[in-house]
Each structure stands twice: as structure tokens, then as C-alpha cells.
Amino acid sequence: MTDMLLTHYNYWVVMVLMMIGFYIVIAQGNLVKKLVGLNIFQTSVFILYISAGKVSGGSAPILDDAISVYSNPLPHVLILTAIVVGIATTALGLALIIRLREAYGSAEEKDIQEQNQC
């Protein structure tokens, strides 16, 4: 079990972060807060990918004659673009929140639902 703890701790960190983000998204009413939660969730996925690419004793994947072991460059590429795409979609979400707030006068999920039922 201790062995497991030492070799798999990265997944557990990812999992805890993911669940915190998940909780914020489903349990909290404020839409801005939900987006922050979604960002936490997203970052936990990034960490999962990057930690999967790590090789013990490896170095950053920039070629050099003195280095023979590199970490896996592929997850880096995927996550690099994912971060920038992530901020673009977050901005889109924030823009939607602003429009919602203008239409309903509130950024709380409950208020918006109540107004829709009326």
C-alpha cells in the first residue's frame, strides 16, 4: 500500500483536484464560480497528461548532446495548445455570463431559473 502511495501519488493529486472542481461546478450557484471550478477541473486533466509524460531521470525535451533521457514531448504539445484553447473557451463562457446578467439581472443559477418559471 505504501508502495502504491509513493508511485501513484500524482494520480491522486489529480483526482482530488478534479473532484474539487467537479463539486464547485455542480454544487455552487454563481456562474463565475462555476467557471473557476471548470478551470480547476481542466487543470487537473492537464496535470494528468503531463505527469503521464514524465520519465524519471528525464530532462526537458530540448535536444542536447549531453542528455540522453528526455521526457515525452507529445503530452506537452497537446496540453500547450489545450491551455490556450481553454482560455479562449473560458472567455466565451464569461461573455455568455455577461449577456445572461444583462438579460436576467443576476449571475446566480437560482435566480435565472426562477425567472424562467414565471
Binding site: 454563481n30 530540448i62 535536444l63 500547450l80 473560458t90 461573455a95 446578467r101
Partner: protein, 319 residues
């Protein structure tokens, strides 16, 4: 520390501190990426997670309001659902390979080829850049298009009913009254722009590239906008011109693909761009990275402008 910050975000009701914490969270995860050898990713995360994303959230907050309305309560059903999902994931991690194991499946497939061959095939030291621009050039093209589309989406959401330039509200002028902030940032803006260009063109050899450079470049312009107000920023950078640049970046990327097709290769096959395939690769990578950088910077600036523009309009209505 990451976990502690995340819990802080979950518990806090004041959105200002939530956003500040999320900025710290971004910086912490950037550090985490450095220890995982992902220097390029850390670069991006530091610029985006700790810089641009909190800025946009602040602007939204200024429009939407700072405090959550409802008193915070723990939702039991949500907590149960989260615990169950967490437990299932915990079971799933038992089957995963150990952290840092060189024989993990992720290390087996195409990664060794990228590491061993990219030096001869592409001829640039930064493997991340060569994979991004060459082997996965199609993917990157798609992602640039996604960013462009998101920019168009934000514009179409926030530009509805856009009126002509209005006198600036006191909202955005506040920062310019802080003398120290103004002078320090004035000194900083030029080096930030210069650094962005360095990151852009040095991406072949060290960590960096179009995505990071675009974000850093946009950050410098956003700092300027925050200090001197939207109107003076619009005087320096015409918004219509930025819109055109966002499209130019994507087109530049696509054009490289078309040119390589005209020269008898496949779409985005840079070998045919010059007589020597290695030189062709270099030209191709520099041009598409430039395209990526232009689009990313232009879209980020556009998004910030339209958010700040909303703020000015609102401040005007409230008066």
C-alpha cells in the same frame, strides 16, 4: 499546495479572492509543470493561468458583481456524488503505470520516434516545437481555428448594440491615478513586448513559440489598456485592424499548407518549401508559428477589448 488553494476557492464566497486564488493556482501549477519537465507548458500556463484568465474574470466581476448572493451551504447530494466518482477514479488509478516509469504505455508509441528522429528530420532542438508544427501540424491548425472561432463568438456576443466610442467612465480611469503603478508599468511594457518577440522567434531552440508569444504580447497590450483606459488603447491599436490580424494569422497558417501543395507536396508538408528539406522545415515552422502568434495575440486583445468595452458602456449607463 495546489489542493489547498483549490479548497480555498471552493469555500470562499468573495469572488475577488476566488479570482486571486485562481491566479495563485495558475502560478503553482506552472511550477508543477516545470518539475515535470514540461517547460513549454509551464510557460503557457504562467501567462494564461496566472495572467490573462484572472484579468478577464476581474472584468466580468466588475460587470456581474463581486459577491455571491446565496449563503454558502454544503450540498449533501453533490458531495455524495463527488465522493462516489472520486472513489471510482481511485480504483481506476490502481491499474495505472507508476509515476515516471520509462516503460509506461504512453512512452512506447510515437514518442521515441519523435525524440530520436526529429533532430534529423526537422533539424531544430526543441522537440515540442517540431511535434507541434510538423508532425501534428494539422492539429495545431485546428486549434488555431478554434481560438479564432472563440474570438468571433465573444465578439458576436458582446458587440451586439455596440455604439460609437463613448467618453470614458471613471471606472477605467482609476488605475491611471496611481502614479507608481503607471510609471512602473510604462517601463515594463516595452520589455514585455520585446520578450514576446524573443519567445516567438526563439521557439525553435528553447522553450517558447507562437502560443506563448501571442499570450505575452497580448498581456502587454492589456496592461496598457488597464492603465490608460480603453479609448487611448484604441487610439494606439485600431480595433478593426486587430480583427483583420486575427484572420490573417489563420490564413497565413493555411497559406503555408497551400504553398506546399502547389510545390508538389502534401498539405503542410514543409519539405518542398525549399531545395533542402531541412531548410524547408525551418521556413515552414517559422511562418506557421508567426501565424499562430498573430492569431492568439489578436484574439486575446479583441476579447479583452470587448469585455472592457462592455464595462465602459455599463459605467456610462449607471451615471
Amino acid at each position: 499546495m495546489l489542493v489547498a488553494t483549490a479548497i480555498g476557492i471552493a469555500v470562499n464566497r468573495d469572488l475577488l479572492s476566488v479570482v486571486m486564488l485562481s491566479s495563485i493556482y495558475g502560478l503553482l501549477s506552472a511550477n508543477f509543470f516545470v518539475t515535470m519537465d514540461a517547460v513549454d507548458v509551464a510557460f503557457t500556463e504562467a501567462a494564461v493561468g496566472a495572467g490573462i484568465s484572472p484579468l478577464l474574470m476581474f472584468t466580468t466581476m466588475a460587470i456581474v458583481g463581486r459577491y455571491e448572493k446565496l449563503p454558502h451551504r454544503w450540498s449533501l447530494s453533490a458531495l455524495v456524488l463527488v465522493s462516489i466518482t472520486g472513489a471510482l477514479l481511485l480504483v481506476a488509478t490502481m491499474d495505472m503505470p507508476a509515476f515516471g516509469a520509462p516503460d509506461a504505455p504512453a512512452q512506447q508509441h510515437v514518442a521515441p520516434r519523435y525524440i530520436e528522429q526529429s533532430g534529423q528530420e526537422v533539424g531544430i532542438p526543441n522537440i515540442v516545437t517540431s511535434v507541434l508544427a510538423t508532425y501534428r501540424g494539422f492539429d495545431t491548425f485546428g486549434e488555431v481555428t478554434v481560438i479564432f472561432t472563440a474570438g468571433v463568438g465573444v465578439l458576436s456576443l458582446l458587440m451586439i448594440g455596440d455604439r460609437a466610442t463613448k467618453p470614458l467612465s471613471s471606472h477605467l480611469l482609476k488605475a491611471s491615478q496611481h502614479k507608481i503603478l503607471r510609471i512602473v508599468s510604462k517601463v515594463l511594457i516595452a520589455p514585455i513586448l520585446l520578450f514576446a518577440l524573443y519567445v516567438q522567434f526563439h521557439g525553435d531552440y528553447g522553450p517558447g513559440g507562437g502560443f506563448q508569444a501571442g499570450v505575452i504580447f497580448a498581456a502587454a497590450i492589456i496592461v496598457y489598456t488597464m492603465l490608460f483606459g480603453l479609448d487611448s488603447a484604441r487610439q494606439v491599436i485600431d480595433q478593426g485592424w486587430v480583427r483583420v490580424m486575427a484572420a490573417v494569422g489563420v490564413l497565413l497558417y493555411g497559406a503555408v499548407g497551400v504553398v506546399s501543395m502547389v510545390n508538389g507536396g502534401n498539405f503542410l508538408d514543409y519539405d518542398v518549401l525549399a531545395k533542402d528539406p531541412i531548410h524547408g522545415q525551418h521556413y515552414g515552422i517559422i511562418v506557421i508559428e508567426l501565424g499562430v502568434g498573430i492569431t492568439v495575440a489578436a484574439v486575446m486583445v479583441l476579447i479583452y477589448f470587448s469585455f472592457a468595452g462592455r464595462l465602459v458602456d455599463r459605467g456610462h449607463q449607471d451615471d
